[in-house]
Symmetry: C2
Subunit: 421 residues, 2 copies
Amino acid sequence: MKAALRPAAEILTIGDELLKGSTLNSNAKFLGRELTDLGFRVTGQSSCPDDFPVLTARFAECLKRSRVLVLTGGLGPTPDDITREALAEYFGVPLVFCAAQYRQIEKFYKGRGLHRVPAMVRKEAQFPANAKPLVNRYGIALGFTVEAGDCLVIVLPGVPREQESMFRELVKPLLRRKFPRLAPKCSLTVKTIGLSEPAVMARLGKTFFRDSFDFGIYPAPSEASLRLQSEKAAVIQRLRRICETKLKGHVYAFADQTISETVGGLLAARGLSVSTAESCTGGALAAEITAVPGASVYFPGGVVTYSDQSKTRELGVSPQLLKKHGAVSGEVVSAMASGVRTKFRTDFALALSGVAGPGGGTKKKPVGEVWIGFSTPRTTLAWKFQFSGARALVQIKSVKKALEILWRHLRGERLGAASRI
Amino acid sequence: MKAALRPAAEILTIGDELLKGSTLNSNAKFLGRELTDLGFRVTGQSSCPDDFPVLTARFAECLKRSRVLVLTGGLGPTPDDITREALAEYFGVPLVFCAAQYRQIEKFYKGRGLHRVPAMVRKEAQFPANAKPLVNRYGIALGFTVEAGDCLVIVLPGVPREQESMFRELVKPLLRRKFPRLAPKCSLTVKTIGLSEPAVMARLGKTFFRDSFDFGIYPAPSEASLRLQSEKAAVIQRLRRICETKLKGHVYAFADQTISETVGGLLAARGLSVSTAESCTGGALAAEITAVPGASVYFPGGVVTYSDQSKTRELGVSPQLLKKHGAVSGEVVSAMASGVRTKFRTDFALALSGVAGPGGGTKKKPVGEVWIGFSTPRTTLAWKFQFSGARALVQIKSVKKALEILWRHLRGERLGAASRI
């Protein structure tokens, strides 16, 4: 289907917090991506306050212009949550009660040891009489759908986790049924690491875009994901081949998975294991590894050695080495990596030490300088990186780089001997 | 000035990437916060694609409803950037050239060793003839302002760093001059832990809302934040007193800070220290502690003991204890906590072991069961929790609860002796 012919979808996110700048609108990003992936043309996104007349006015505008309107937020139990009431009044219908959702609410409270549902929470099981309920199994606020003229309105709670689960499980199948001719049949996700968005685009070049297909690129710290869609399997196959060639050494998955999942899968499949020793990332690498269910198969544990003394005591890094080279050095991360590998008896070990900032930088070792050590049964290597951005970003980039190093080793790359310590 | 009388401001962010879900709209958050803090009522935020007719239509709608419209993005040099052209056409005026911005562009290119400005970049120094230029010293795209009837339109580049600098240096003083009677508002942030959003609302009760003031409540896992704003300092003082009474034992800050920052501040002020031993959270507690700059003062480190063997080897948890009670038990987290406290020679230690899921649950120890151990120089306690939600949520809630326990101890609460092991 040509872009201009694809049905228009809009997103209306409700909540004062969005307008006052208290919250980043991650829901708008999630819904934009999902609707685009389904094949809709997302022509607008608006946020409006928890304000009866403003909400009604924006709602009416969106209805006129779109075939699908996803509206989220303002479904909570407090008096400032008015989305249900505003929509019921707009349609001139009463609010009715969904027993299935109320049972869910009772279960939710019982699970927390509370045997009475507060009276104000009862309204979370209500929906406008002209709507169809979407039972929320992930929280307490009922969602619903309404056919309003030519527009299908989908109303979901604003809590990101609940919204995302409900969208995937209930809304996606519904949209696929209602718009059977919509979805491009073939799609491909390409996950890359170690390239910036412009670098990916430059490598792909102009010929990549020869055929007509839907293209999305989604940058994240140290990563860029591509999402390609087409009606023609041959087009997707051609694009995949180009990615394999032009992005060689950077594609870690042709699926929607994280680098931590990819690395974990490789370790598990080969019966190998890894441990971690962290200074500047303070446990974030171990947390990223154990974010994957089943990580215990290949990850027995790690240490966070935030002080010099703990590096010595826990990992056997000699005080002389620390004094001579400083904690942020190739020598020290190498000693940390081999120390933790021995300690946890793993095949591999990763160690990090750096200046995450904002303080602690010097002319010789500025904020963002991070050393990563990697120990294998045969050798120990260390690399120096200079990461830009605030503390949290330096920490994330360090974690990603450490996982990238392990991934490169597992896929059989010879890691730069020049950096051997 | 009453809320309803405050001038209405809107934000219009332009760019396909916002609608396809490639980019989180951090500009909308920044502008929402800045405009709210200046005293405007932000009544809308919209994103629209780089599409001539759609942009013009949204622009016209926003103009009608607001006194101030901040429009950002679509000012780049490529053909899909059409904001300048669309506004000039809307106003029926030609685009004219700003020599000051062009000098800035030439300087920018020279600084990068390029002595000729590409022809396509020239348009970045243009503005509609009815506008006043806002020279961009941080990048190459000119900003501008237009008085359109009763609405002041402010157009800024979409690059966050440029936009933020230009807003602070050029736009803020301009808005203060144009709206001299915008009341400086008093505001209060209240951060609570251990109460759900409905529980906070129920505790505050109806009398809390007696006066007229701006109220926002923002739930997060295990937390709820309040944001209160009023023109009257006395109102804010009264609200603060009510929060102190009604939310007693749950308010950890009257400022925009995290529980980890609060706990860190208390530890640092008293010269105390903490270490961590993590199983089910896999390093996420240590990562949360070290997300705070300067955490090294009170956090020497911790261990992630993901396997039974590592609990024994690293923390001295006896194999008999593990066999008898299982890794997810009060006995084991107590042994982990006192083990890591001794190991890292800290005043306090926190230890976690649980079933984060999705697998690994049993009838006796279901997914979401988490034990937290807390060791002090005088005693070691352990508590059992049952957290709901997916793996990541169980992990976050566990981390928050562990920090809450330490916070409660530091503020002098006597922690439940019933749960003493």
